[in-house]
């Protein structure tokens, strides 16, 4: 049975009038990748900072590796690696010196530190850039250096706070592959992001946050089941009139339809043959069809649906 390595219970963090984290509870099991998904300002980074005891909090309790997390719980901190949203490295030091410095904050033994630093450089693919100062590195390489600095000491729990912000697709893929490798090597990971596809690709369990609250959690499959959409049909159609659109809306299992003059987007909940019925209606009205394709629900749909409902609830 896997062990709970992080347990957050009823966390509340307020900045004067603003409640940044509102009664948040979560658990992280050993070996899992937990995704904290939410838009900017949803409380992800604040939660991480409270977890690391970089921030004090107003209510709740945080336990890491079975002990209460406090600023001087250095035993727990020694097992944690942090990769912050901003690239936190020294411009004055080169790549090797930077990794060596951050590794040295945890590892006292020089020989072991040298070995770990070399391994981190290898892991991040920075072998050719050891002597480079950060200012000479591209955005993607900088992100990789940032990650290498956070994982060099081989932590059991790695916290990555939006590590792929402003990174090109190639570097992003490399970073995501690296994170999967770290997980395969035994590290538990907390991954915060507002990129749905990254969280969907990486995380075994996901917590969706909005306005400091845990609004949904589970595996991606569990989350997708929570939404009322089974598929989204998109069809390129020209000159669809109001009558056609009205007929489409009246079809069974159609929850919504949108038309922008070129693309018809139809969301369905359950049912079979939705696509066939839609094409029949379009043919009846002698409309020329371009490309037609269907999409399964994504976390984006989940998030939009869940946050949308909440907003409507409040408005009601």
């Amino acid at each position: 049975m896997s062990q709970t390595i992080v347990k957050i219970d009823g966390l509340v963090k307020r900045y004067k009038e603003l409640t940044a984290v509102d009664d948040l509870s979560l658990e992280i099991q050993e070996g899992e990748i937990l995704g904290l998904l939410g838009p900017n300002g949803s409380g992800k980074t604040t939660t991480i900072n409270c977890l690391l005891s970089l921030l004090s909090y107003d209510e709740g309790n945080i336990e890491v590796f079975g002990s209460k997390m406090t600023p001087d719980n250095y035993k727990a901190k020694a097992k944690i690696g942090v990769i912050s949203q901003n690239v936190a490295v020294f411009d004055e030091l080169n790549v090797y010196e930077n990794i060596d410095y951050f590794c040295g904050l945890y590892i006292k033994d020089k020989k072991l530190r040298r070995q770990y630093t070399d391994e981190a450089i290898e892991f991040a693919g920075l072998n050719d850039f050891k002597k480079f100062k950060p200012k000479k590195l591209s955005g993607g390489l900088l992100r990789r250096l940032n990650i290498a600095c956070g994982i060099a000491h081989k932590p059991s729990l790695i916290i990555l706070d939006e590590p792929t912000v402003a990174v090109d697709p190639q570097s992003r893929n490399r970073i995501l592959e690296g994170i999967e490798k770290l997980n395969r090597d035994g590290a538990s990971i907390i991954y915060t992001s507002h990129y749905m596809e990254e969280v969907e690709q990486l995380c075994s369990r996901i917590i969706i946050m909005d306005k400091g609250k845990n609004i949904a959690s589970g595996t991606k499959e569990e989350l997708k089941k929570k939404v009322n959409i089974t598929e989204t049909i998109k069809a390129e159609v020209r000159n669809a009139d109001e009558e056609t659109l009205s007929k489409i809306k009246q079809l069974p299992h159609i929850t919504s339809s949108e038309y922008d003059g070129k693309l018809l987007t139809v969301k369905c909940s359950g049912g079979k043959h939705n696509l066939i019925r839609l094409i029949e209606v379009l043919n009846e009205h002698e409309l020329h069809l371009g490309r037609v394709y269907t999409e399964l629900p994504t976390l984006n749909d989940v998030f939009l649906e869940i946050t949308g409902k909440q907003l409507r609830d409040k408005e009601d």
């Binding site: 900072n49 690391l52 005891s53 970089l54 921030l55 004090s56 600023p71 001087d72 250095y74 035993k75 901190k77 020694a78 944690i80 942090v82 912050s84 901003n86 690239v87 936190a88 490295v89 020294f90 411009d91 004055e92 030091l93 010196e97 410095y101 951050f102 040295g104 904050l105 945890y106 600095c149 956070g150």
Partner: protein, 385 residues
């Protein structure tokens, strides 16, 4: 010792600035020491002029006058030619031209001392009064000696001898208590105000600013290195660097002014410079907390360095500064440091009580600046959090 090591690496990255400041300062100190023997006029020497003499009388007495003038100046016999004379004076071939009028000897024997010679020089030149007074003395002495019964040639020679007797002249300085070595030694330590401030601020601030960058601090605080250990290493780095720089300047002072350095006054000045170093370190820490980046820290360092040096009597002695400036300078630590040095070894009146007051004032500045740094630092951390 990761924090300490990175602290020193950042300081080391500023080595060119440090070397530049230190090198220039020490070079100036060495040059001023080597040339110090000529730097203060404490001896008097008669001025020798080049004088052209036109002797229209050509007598024994006029010859003795020429000999007399030849002894104290460089003289040349010339012919009367107005155009050439004007040219020679204009181009400074001669500082002065004397024309011994015809009838010089006869008039002198008759006791008539007026209009015996005519002088030519540039308008308003001080040579006129100098040479006139010398020739008039000769004429008056000779005339008096002839009247008292001496033979004309004897009288002229006696007059020449009397006038030529040198009076030993030494320059009396208002600051006669402090000799030239004291002056140079005090100047070296006064200039440390600017140089120490520049060197310490320009290298200490970057290290402190970088280590205090919110993202770096967050990452370091999230590690297993305790906050107290980080602080200790920062303090150690600050102390090692600033004391190292101070020792470098003290070593240079010891080599350049060893006898002064080891005197009781010298050691008191050294102590004052160390206390001033504490003030500078506190100031640097405060600047590093206030400044958002190194560029701003450099600007603040330069403005404070120059401002304090001008207002507190580093570049211009305090005795030449106006009352208003001195009153304003009271709020700057440099004022007390410079005053303390003046009171110990410089141009001021020696007063050990005042020196003690100056040292205490500097310590108070160091304490206040440090406390201010702590308050602002704590406030900013809260804001960031």
């Amino acid at each position: 010792m990761q924090v300490f090591k990175v602290f020193m690496k950042i300081v080391y990255s500023r080595r060119i600035v440090i070397l530049l400041y230190t090198g220039i300062f020490l070079a100036v100190a060495v040059i001023s020491t080597l040339t110090s023997n000529n730097s203060v006029q404490n001896e008097f020497k008669d001025t020798k002029l080049t004088i052209g003499i036109i002797d229209d009388d050509n007598t024994e007495l006029s010859g003795i006058l020429k000999d007399y003038l030849g002894d104290i100046h460089k003289t040349e016999n010339i012919e009367y030619d107005k155009d050439n004379m004007i040219k020679d004076i204009y181009y400074q071939k001669y500082s002065y031209i004397i024309r011994i009028e015809k009838g010089f000897e006869q008039n002198l024997l008759n006791g008539d001392t007026n209009g015996l010679i005519e002088g030519f020089t540039l308008d308003g030149s001080y040579y006129e009064s100098l040479v006139n007074s010398q020739t008039e003395s000769f004429i008056k002495y000779t005339s008096a000696l002839i009247l008292s019964g001496n033979k004309p040639s004897e009288a002229a020679k006696k007059a020449q001898k009397l006038i030529s007797e040198d009076t030993e002249v030494s320059v009396y300085s208002e600051n006669n208590d402090s000799d030239n070595d004291d002056f140079i030694f005090a100047t070296y330590f006064k200039f440390l105000t600017y140089i120490l401030l520049s060197v310490v601020v320009s290298s200490l601030c970057p290290a402190l600013i970088v280590l205090d960058r919110p993202d770096i601090r967050a990452r370091t605080n999230a590690s297993s290195l305790s906050v107290s250990s980080q602080l200790k290493q920062k303090i150690l780095g600050t102390a090692v660097y600033s004391i190292g720089i101070w020792l470098l300047f003290m070593a240079a002072a010891f080599i350049l002014y060893s006898s002064k350095f080891t005197s009781s006054e010298g050691l008191l000045v050294v102590l004052q410079s160390f206390v001033f170093l504490l003030t500078i370190v506190s100031l640097s820490m405060l600047v590093s907390v206030i400044a958002k980046n190194q560029k701003i820290a450099d600007i603040v360092g330069t403005v404070v360095g120059f401002g304090m040096s001008f207002l507190c009597g580093v570049f211009v002695p305090q005795e030449y500064l106006s009352e208003g400036v001195l009153t304003a300078a009271h709020i700057l630590p440099g004022y007390w440091y410079v005053k303390g040095i003046d009171q110990t070894i410089g141009s001021g009146t020696k007063n050990i009580d005042t020196v003690v007051i100056c040292i205490v004032a500097e310590l108070c500045f160091a304490a206040v600046l440090f406390a201010l740094m702590l308050v602002i630092s704590r406030k900013r951390r809260r804001k960031i959090v």
